[in-house]
């Protein structure tokens, strides 16, 4: 009978998660596999529980989304004990993981774009970070590396509160805008780990009728792309999550085929910085959006 892929989602209702799941599901179904998804609501404990459940069910592969590999210790042990290959999305390679992806590239793309916009001008940046999530840690690290040693840049960090990320991003941005009123001599920018807090930030810009702030975020969710198209957001870095999902599943098949000779690998698919200039082209290229 059919083989089964068990997917452990960080937040099954997050757009990016949905894309990855979609990609992996499509590839799996094409290969004749069944797919089961468990939503962990971002709880590492639940993620481990879900992996153990999959191990007990003897699924044929497990795919974990957006949890740090350091946070799924017991799940990995259970999978290893049942000889089930584990893939992660945005984790890192540790013993037991056959394939993963990295969030750092899109992070680097985002800060590079932001820096290209402000040049050497004195700049104030509001960075909306989120540390409990592996993806955001990696993207945040890329951001930090990007601004490190730049004397013209001053960063105010705000850790986003989840749940309530949109509203929290809105309030944080509104306050930061008050502290940095229009007409100052510095360039202003808001960087966010993912689209949802930016969505809130954009609403804050609208509320205070400001258009002097560069907004950059990551994910390229339909929502984010729409904001770029409307001219509300400067850019969002589209992460090719669907393709990543497909590629990860393909790698899982390869790993199973290769058996012991398999070398764990990191799938890297470059993202696209979606701006007002290329958004129409982007939408044409990616009609699913």
């Amino acid at each position: 009978d059919a083989k089964t892929l068990g997917i452990v989602a960080l937040l099954a209702n997050d757009a990016l998660n949905i894309d990855v799941i979609g990609g992996a599901t499509k590839a799996a179904n094409a290969a004749g596999w069944d797919v089961k998804v468990i939503d962990t609501q971002a709880s590492a404990d639940q993620a481990n529980a879900a992996m153990s459940s999959f191990a007990v069910q003897k699924v044929d592969a497990i795919f974990v989304l957006a949890f740090a590999s350091s946070a799924i210790g017991s799940g990995l042990e259970a999978a290893k004990a049942a000889s089930i290959p584990v893939a992660t999305w945005g984790g890192e390679i540790v013993d037991g993981i056959v394939v993963t992806t990295s969030g750092k590239t899109v992070g680097k793309d985002s800060i590079d774009f932001l820096l290209s916009q402000v040049g050497d001008n004195p700049t104030e940046i509001l960075a909306l970070t989120f540390h409990p999530g592996k993806l955001c840690i990696d993207r945040g690290l890329a951001f930090d590396e990007g601004v490190a040693g730049k004397d013209n840049i001053h960063v105010t960090y705000h850790e986003v509160v989840v749940p309530g990320q949109v509203e929290n991003g809105n309030a944080a941005a509104a306050n930061w805008l008050t502290a940095n009123p229009a007409g100052g001599d510095k360039k202003l920018a808001i960087w966010s780990c993912w689209d949802e807090p930016t969505q809130g930030a954009v609403a804050a810009l609208r509320q205070s009728a400001r258009d002097d702030v560069i907004t950059v975020s990551i994910n390229g969710s339909p929502q984010g792309v729409q904001l770029v198209k409307d001219g509300d957001m400067t850019a969002t870095v589209w992460q090719p999550a669907f393709a990543e999902g497909e590629a990860v599943f393909q790698a899982i098949l390869d790993a199973i085929a290769a058996g012991d000779s398999w070398e764990a690998k990191t799938v890297e698919i470059p993202g696209i910085v979606v701006t007002k200039d290329n958004v129409d082209q982007f939408l044409a290229d990616h009609p699913a959006q």
Binding site: A12, N13, A15, I18, T129, T156, Y157, H158, E159, V161, V162, P163, G164, Q165, V166, E167, N168, N170, A171, A172, A174, N175, W176, L177, T178, A179, P181, E196, Q199, G200, V202, A203, R206, Q207, S208, S221, P222, Q223, Q226, L227, D232
Partner: protein, 336 residues
């Protein structure tokens, strides 16, 4: 519950006041308000150019407005001695639905809003029926309903609903129809004023307070306890729906889970408020004070540029401090 607690508060109010005692009583009643004012003064001194400006005060009020509306609804359920853990989920759900009605069903804005408010009220009604007629503990009933709603919301639209929403819808919260004050602030004051009047000046409000304070006495006085509770839950549902609609209008889209974060903030605000003026009772004015404390603290710290981890420390600290001040003062006043 109440009588036992009241029993020990003995002879306090009737005794002639000494100066120190009067001061302590003052602090116990106005501790949270003093905390709020102290914060405002502090931030005004610390950031004289940015904090104490009209623009920033309006900004603070805007931010506070949605929390205030949802917290006011929550206050009603607490007044009747119940609980509503579903308000955040209702706000999220209705925020999604109202956008869906406009974008997918093509409803005109007013119809979509009215339908959404009705739906929110109906959800509150379900909560109320589960609690009063079925007899489920309110914590379980509302947590259950909230969880179910999050699932339904997910199956309704996992993706944000952003396309097809009329521009006018976003103007609801971006506009400033009255004297340049952002609409949500106006709506907040209107809602709070109505809820305040109903709670304090009408027979219905009296009954609500009686039900919350001594349900047996209320029942024996011929009050239909279940209906009163139902009304409170429906009000909470209505307010949560209104918050969800305003949130979607603010964001320009309906996003899954966008309002979930209101729950804890609303609770914090309501309980902060219950330490204001009247000891341990829930009331609308106190809730407003509670909401403002949280909003001012958050705003001031951001403007101040405090490190991000300082925000939760400050928020928690002000909760404990403001309420602790009132509570301690009350203790000393009682024993002096």
């Amino acid at each position: 519950m109440t009588t036992a607690a009241e029993g020990q508060k003995t002879t306090m109010a009737r005794r002639p006041g000494s100066g120190k005692r009067a001061a302590l009583i003052f602090v116990s009643r106005y501790g949270t308000i003093i905390g709020l004012l102290a914060m405002i003064v502090f931030f005004s001194i610390a950031a004289p150019t940015t904090f104490p400006t009209m623009a920033n005060f309006l900004n603070i009020l805007s931010q506070a407005s949605l929390t205030a509306i949802i917290a006011a609804g929550l206050t009603y359920t607490l007044v009747v001695g119940e609980f509503d853990l579903s308000v955040g989920f209702v706000a999220s759900f209705i925020g999604l639905i109202v956008c869906g009605l406009m974008a997918n069903q093509g409803f005109p804005i007013p119809i979509a809003i009215i339908a959404s408010l009705a739906l929110g009220t109906f959800i509150g009604c379900i909560n109320g029926l589960l609690v009063t007629k079925v007899g489920i503990n309110a914590v379980i009933a509302t947590l259950g309903v909230g969880t179910i709603l999050s699932g339904i919301g997910f199956s309704y639209s996992a993706f944000p609903i952003a396309v097809g929403i009329p521009r006018d819808f976003t103007l609801i919260s971006l506009g400033r129809i009255v004297f340049g004050v952002p609409n949500p602030v106006v709506i907040m004051f209107a809602v709070l004023a109505i809820l305040w009047v109903v709670l304090n000046k009408t027979d219905l409000g009296q009954k609500m307070q009686a039900v919350g304070s001594n349900i047996e006495a209320a029942r024996l006085s011929g009050i239909r306890v279940d209906r009163i509770k139902l009304f409170a839950f429906m009000t909470a549902g209505f307010c949560a729906a209104l918050t969800g609609i305003l949130l979607s209008s603010l964001l320009g889209s309906g996003t899954l889970g966008a309002g979930d974060g209101y729950l804890l903030n609303a609770f914090a605000a309501v309980f902060l408020g219950s330490a204001t003026l009247r000891e341990g009772q829930f009331h609308i004015f106190g809730t407003l004070v509670g909401v403002m404390i949280l909003a001012v603290g958050f705003n001031g710290l951001s403007i101040f540029g405090a490190p991000t981890h300082f925000q939760p420390i400050f928020k928690g600290g002000i909760l404990v401090f403001a309420v602790g001040l009132s509570a301690l003062a009350r203790r000393y006043a009682a024993s002096s």
